[in-house]
Symmetry: C2
């Protein structure tokens, strides 16, 4: 296997673009090579097969969607409150919207996971670790609510972002910030 | 265009299966004909092009996912309460789980809608009419909460069902009924 880490990352980022643009069925080594602008055959030097490519794409999506630890620390510095939760969730949603390709790629991977048990196991593991980390941060920082508050915010944000990306006109004049404020105000108790 | 309505419906149901199994990219006239067990070329007698097929698939999914008006009337007969909302949402989720292929097909269509403005317009229209109808039923029946209660339940149920279908082990021992009770108890006010 080829070992140039920058090249591998560039191939994975190209794969995420293919995934978001063409769907999981369009994700072939050839399509990744074309998107990355490298000679045909390059991807097959980096990944043993399509399963391995999908698995590493999953990991890469989470690396790109997860904020730096420093940014999280700074964001959570103000006193815990429902207002701060609104602000944090808005920031999170804006981050997902900025990484639109990644987030759409994640939805495509989820649907592909229905057909691929190995991918399902891996996505379950990374999504769970992400959710657990969010619960830990929430509780450790003294934010109002409990683990199920975080779980409910996660469900609602998934549904909200899916609409935002796929049927953005569904909620009329109400933008992402407005919808998120509504969700947080109804899910997170007042301090 | 061929006009046998049963045949058209059978082709659309076959198309939904192809969509759920293969993703939107796998949805070709040939694949639909094969899945429906009809001679190659049949679908092209029923649909002018792939856009029209996708559009009619979208409508068919909503027909299959929407309960009969009689069933809704019966379900909403008891006095409005949060407990009844838990029961109604559980029933709704069980219906979606029973129509797993349809619901997965709807997610595939949503992702395809990112790439197809016409399909996006149509899905927006049917999803909005579905959401508006749910708001109307909720308010008319005197259920606790307001229009945003219903919107929040819709967001959360979308996220919850997406997990249930794509990464069913994510929430450990907690089954659909348990998660739905948690969601409703936190979103719907007590009477």
């Amino acid at each position: 296997m080829a070992r140039n880490p920058e090249r591998r990352t560039a191939l994975l980022d190209a794969a995420i673009e293919v995934l978001a643009d063409e769907g999981a069925r369009g994700l072939t080594f050839r399509a990744v090579d074309a998107r990355a602008g490298v000679p045909t055959g390059t991807s097959s030097n980096y990944f043993t097969d399509r399963d391995q490519l999908l698995s590493q794409v999953g990991d890469r999506i989470f690396v790109r969607l997860t904020p730096e630890p420093g940014a999280i620390g700074t964001a959570m510095r103000p006193a815990p409150s429902r207002e701060l939760m609104v602000e944090l969730m808005r920031r999170l949603a804006r981050r997902m919207a900025a990484e639109r390709t990644c987030y759409l790629g994640l939805f495509e991977l989820r649907l592909e996971a229905v057909r691929r048990p190995e991918l399902r196991t891996q996505l379950t593991r990374v999504l769970r670790s992400d959710l657990d980390e969010n619960v830990r941060l929430h509780l450790d920082s003294g934010m109002p609510g409990d683990a199920d508050t975080v779980r409910l915010l996660y469900f609602a944000l998934t549904g909200l972002l899916l609409d935002h990306f796929t049927v953005p006109g569904l909620h009329g004049e109400r933008d992402l910030d407005d919808l998120i404020e509504t969700v947080v105000n109804r899910v997170v108790p007042e301090v």
